[in-house]
């Protein structure tokens, strides 16, 4: 033992001299056991620490800990030295080692937690912090420590549990209440949070942090007047507190007291003139108050303080722009573009300034609103029905003229095509049936006339119903004119077809006369009636088609197929009398067939088919017209979108 006493003495004196090597030499002597050596190193480390030689103290503690980490008193002392010398990771390791031996040691867990937290290992820190508080639930400090760690890690619900524990141990501690309140607010338990924050203020009326916290919560829960009462008290106590003044300013804005808000932020800026955020706040406030000059000046100060923040400059630009100072706005805009050349919004803003500047260059823009001398025009009466009809007639007339221009706009033949189509059609049918089949027409002597009487009503129906189909989709631009309605464009197309096909029919008849096939209808009223009836049928279906095509873009294709089928079912190149009775009984459901036979019978007096039912066609036409017009009127508002 005296040996060890000697060794210790010589080692300690060597250590005092700062001679760690000599010290080691003494302690490394073979006749010292590991335990004694470790103990001696510990002693030495402690002595070194007390003498302020921290590096060497750490060095010795490391040696001791390496020698006998499992010994409680050694680990404890080493941990203490590590911790005090700022070697938190090693301290944490040492405490962990100790806790293997004494797992129920609450203070040890608390130390370990502190060391882990200082070393930045928060998961471990939280684990040990909670363990410490759980082992010794009556320690205020342990509970508060664990809660703060949990709160910092964003684990609000668990933090609340430990803050509650701390608050139960010391209900008068404002700091705990404040923290608990913040955690509860993060959990969206606003009511409780505010109540606790207010209690914290009551407990410690002069505590600045409690007041700031309570004010902030009250503002967030829109209890502005209570917030104002607290923050005003706080400002009265802490006269030099610029954070409180900034909060007061925000409170006053929310209460709609802009002037007082401005006064508060001005005081804050006097106390902390270098804070950019305060200047920005003040500038926004001035802008809101309409004091553009001062706002611009304040934004300028903020921009000078923090030249790297483009948002400040952007705000400055807006203010300059709104106060008409385009030159300054342009200067700021130039800097913006230089610092953030790829920001589209900035570029847009600068472009706007440039445009305005252009307008100002000449300066002879006339102010137009000064027209006090002008007497307002006389008001016009609401249009009567007659006037409205007159306008509509005018519109339809204009549309008809326009339609005739565009009807065949795509083909070079233009209107010639309207004439050529039925001529070719009749010629083809005549050639096929007359030459190839060497037959005679079922009625009359001339193939031309017979096919003519079939083609004309059929074409009138197909042209009318098909061309009206595109009335809405093809006239979207015209429908933007307020006076032009969907009814007008559809109706105009129908009328164009009636006019065109009637004209074509007359010209063809004249042509037949010219080549010596002179046939005139013997019953003009019947002819007109059949034409009107089939046109009305076409119109009714045309309205329905136009509406359907506005909703279903390929309806026109379906309609084209239907009309092609009708071509074979309408008795154009035959008379229904040639068909077996059962076929004819089906065919007579087709109203076009009646139209063709009606038309035909007005040409050939001897042709008076017993299946011809004129009233059937008339009724079907009337019903379709009513349905088509009703359909259009019902869906009028949904037929097209504004361009």
């Amino acid at each position: 033992m005296s040996d060890i006493g000697q060794i210790r003495q010589s080692a300690i004196s060597a250590a005092f001299l700062g001679d760690l090597d000599a010290c080691r030499f003494h302690l490394g002597r073979a006749d010292v056991t590991d335990h004694e050596r470790a103990w001696l190193y510990c002693q030495l480390s402690e002595a070194l620490y007390h003498n302020g030689i921290h590096d060497n103290a750490v060095e010795c503690a490391r040696i001791a800990f390496d020698l006998q980490p499992e010994k409680e008193e050694i680990a404890n002392l080493c941990a203490w030295v590590f911790s005090n010398c700022g070697r938190h990771e090693e301290a944490a390791a040492a405490y962990e080692r100790l806790l293997v031996i004494r797992s129920q040691w609450a203070a040890g867990h608390r130390h370990a937690s502190g060391s882990f937290a200082a070393a930045g290992q928060f998961d471990h820190a939280i684990f040990h912090g909670r363990k410490a508080s759980d082992l010794d639930p009556h320690s205020f400090e342990f509970a508060f420590h664990a809660a703060c760690l949990l709160e910092a890690a964003g684990r609000h619900a668990q933090a609340v549990d430990y803050f509650m524990r701390a608050a139960a141990l010391d209900p008068a501690d404002a700091c705990v209440l404040r923290h608990l309140s913040a955690a509860l607010f993060a959990l969206e338990r606003g009511e409780q949070a505010v109540a606790l924050a207010l209690r914290a203020v009551t407990l410690a009326p002069s505590d600045r942090l409690s007041a700031l916290h309570a004010t902030e919560l009250l503002l967030r829960t829109e209890r502005y007047d209570e917030a104002a009462a607290i923050i005003l008290d706080a400002v009265a106590v802490h006269r030099e507190d610029h954070v409180a003044l900034r909060l007061l300013s925000a409170t006053q804005i929310l209460r709609g007291r802009a002037e007082e808000a401005l006064e508060a932020i001005d005081r804050a800026i006097t106390l902390a003139p270098e804070t950019t955020e305060y200047l920005l706040h003040r500038a926004n406030l001035l802008y809101r108050l309409g004091r553009l000059e001062e706002a611009a000046e304040t934004f300028g100060r903020a921009a000078a303080l923090d030249p790297s923040n483009p948002d400040t400059k952007r705000s400055q630009l807006t203010v300059y722009f709104d106060s008409g100072r385009f030159i300054e706005a342009l200067a700021v805009g130039g800097e913006l573009i230089r610092t953030s050349p790829d920001n589209e919004e900035y570029a847009q803003a600068v472009l706007q300034v440039l445009n305005r500047r252009f307008e100002m260059l000449d300066g002879d823009y006339v102010v137009l609103s000064e027209r006090a001398l002008r007497s307002p025009r006389q008001l016009r009466p609401q249009p009567t029905i007659f006037a409205a009809l007159h306008t509509q007639a005018r519109v339809i007339y204009a549309l008809i003229i326009r339609e005739t221009r565009t009807r065949f706009a795509d083909s070079k033949l233009g209107y010639g095509w309207a004439l050529l189509e039925p001529v070719l059609h009749i010629l083809m049918l005549s050639v096929v049936f007359a030459v190839l089949m060497r037959g005679r027409p079922p009625i009359g002597n001339e193939f031309f006339i017979f096919y003519y009487t079939g083609i004309i009503p059929y074409h009138l129906f197909v042209h009318t119903s098909s061309n009206m189909t595109y009335a809405i989709t093809g006239n979207l631009s015209l429908l933007q004119l307020p006076l032009v309605s969907t009814f007008d464009v559809i109706m105009a197309r129908g009328l164009v077809e009636l006019l065109t096909d009637t004209l074509v029919a007359v010209i063809l008849l004249a042509g037949f006369g010219a080549i010596g096939l002179g046939v005139l209808p013997h019953d003009l009223p019947a002819l007109s009636a059949s034409v009107i009836a089939v046109w009305l049928l076409g119109c009714g279906l045309g309205f329905i088609n136009a509406v359907l095509n506005a909703f279903f873009k390929s309806w026109d294709k379906i309609w084209a197929q239907l009309t092609r089928a009708l071509y074979f079912c309408s008795g154009i190149f035959y008379v229904p009398g040639m068909m077996p009775d059962w076929v004819r009984d089906i065919l007579v459901w087709n109203p076009i067939l009646h139209a063709v036979d009606w038309f035909r019978s007005s040409f050939f007096p001897e042709y008076e088919p017993h299946w011809l039912d004129r009233s059937y066609l008339a009724i079907v036409a009337a019903v379709t017209v009513v349905a088509g017009l009703g359909f259009e009127r019902a869906l009028r508002r949904h037929l097209y979108e504004p361009l």
């Binding site: 926004n284 802008y287 809101r288 309409g290 709104d322 445009n355 305005r356 252009f358 307008e359 000449d362 002879d364 823009y365 006339v366 102010v367 137009l368 609103s369 027209r371 002008r374 007497s375 307002p376 025009r377 008001l379 016009r380 009466p381 609401q382 306008t391 005018r394 519109v395 007339y397 204009a398 549309l399 003229i401 326009r402 221009r405 565009t406 706009a409 006239n475 631009s477 015209l478 429908l479 933007q480 004119l481 307020p482 006076l483 032009v484 009028r636 508002r637 504004p642 361009l643």
Partner: protein, 220 residues
């Protein structure tokens, strides 16, 4: 004078239904030029089309005691396959105006040159706007509805338009939608703010602008 009598209008957009007007009762008096303010997407263009009659309200009635122009804006009212001249003729006929006088005025004002006789499809956006502008001026409307087109064309043409409008405002009113504060102050003496289905009238454009600025600031 245009009266909105319990007018409601809801618009369907990709993001859902948007109320432009919600049971609005206002009268835009004649003898005043109105500037319409509202954030993007508030429905200013729809309002202009309702005033014009290009669009019908969902409920209520828009009564016009004046001859109101078609909305002068970016949307086309011209048929692409027809020439400028034919289009102008059409508009003149629709409004019952003297066709010859209108086309001559437009030809002189719009400065389209040979393009006046070519299909509108071949026009640039600026040329289309010039044609629309000139057509609108050529017809004697009581109220002109303008939706953001005062920025059209080069500076000289803009000045020409302003000049023409100055002369026109001696007789007619203007209802103007623009983001350009300067233009609003120049042309309008009264203002209206369209916000969330409400249309608020102001007797002074300055008041309207001030209120609007505060509104925009608060929403930021």
């Amino acid at each position: 004078m245009i009266t909105l009598d319990r007018v409601s209008k809801v618009y369907r957009t990709r993001s859902g239904r948007k109320t432009v007007l919600d049971n609005v009762n206002v009268t835009l008096e004649s003898g005043h030029n109105f500037g319409i303010l509202g954030v993007n997407g508030a429905g200013k263009s729809t309002l202009i089309r309702l005033l014009a009659g290009s669009e019908m309200p969902d409920r209520g009635a828009v009564r016009r005691y004046s001859r109101v122009s078609f909305p002068l804006g970016f949307g086309g009212t011209f048929h692409g396959a027809l020439s400028g001249r034919e289009n102008v003729t059409f508009v003149a006929r629709v409004y019952g105006a003297e066709v010859r006088a209108v086309t001559e005025y437009v030809e002189g004002f719009a400065e389209l040159g040979e393009y006046f006789h070519m299909p509108v499809n071949t026009y640039s956006a600026g040329m289309r706007a010039r044609l629309a502008f000139a057509t609108c001026l050529a017809i004697d409307f009581d109220v002109y509805l303008i939706d953001e087109v005062t920025e059209v064309g080069d500076q000289r043409f803009r000045r020409k338009c302003a000049e023409a409008f100055r002369e026109r405002t001696l007789r007619s009113d203007i209802i103007l939608v623009t983001h350009n504060v300067h233009t609003l102050r120049q042309y309008c003496d009264r203002g209206a703010i369209l916000d969330n289905g409400e249309l608020t009238l102001f007797d002074d454009i300055g008041m309207a602008l001030g209120r609007y600025h505060r509104m925009v600031q608060e929403s930021l």
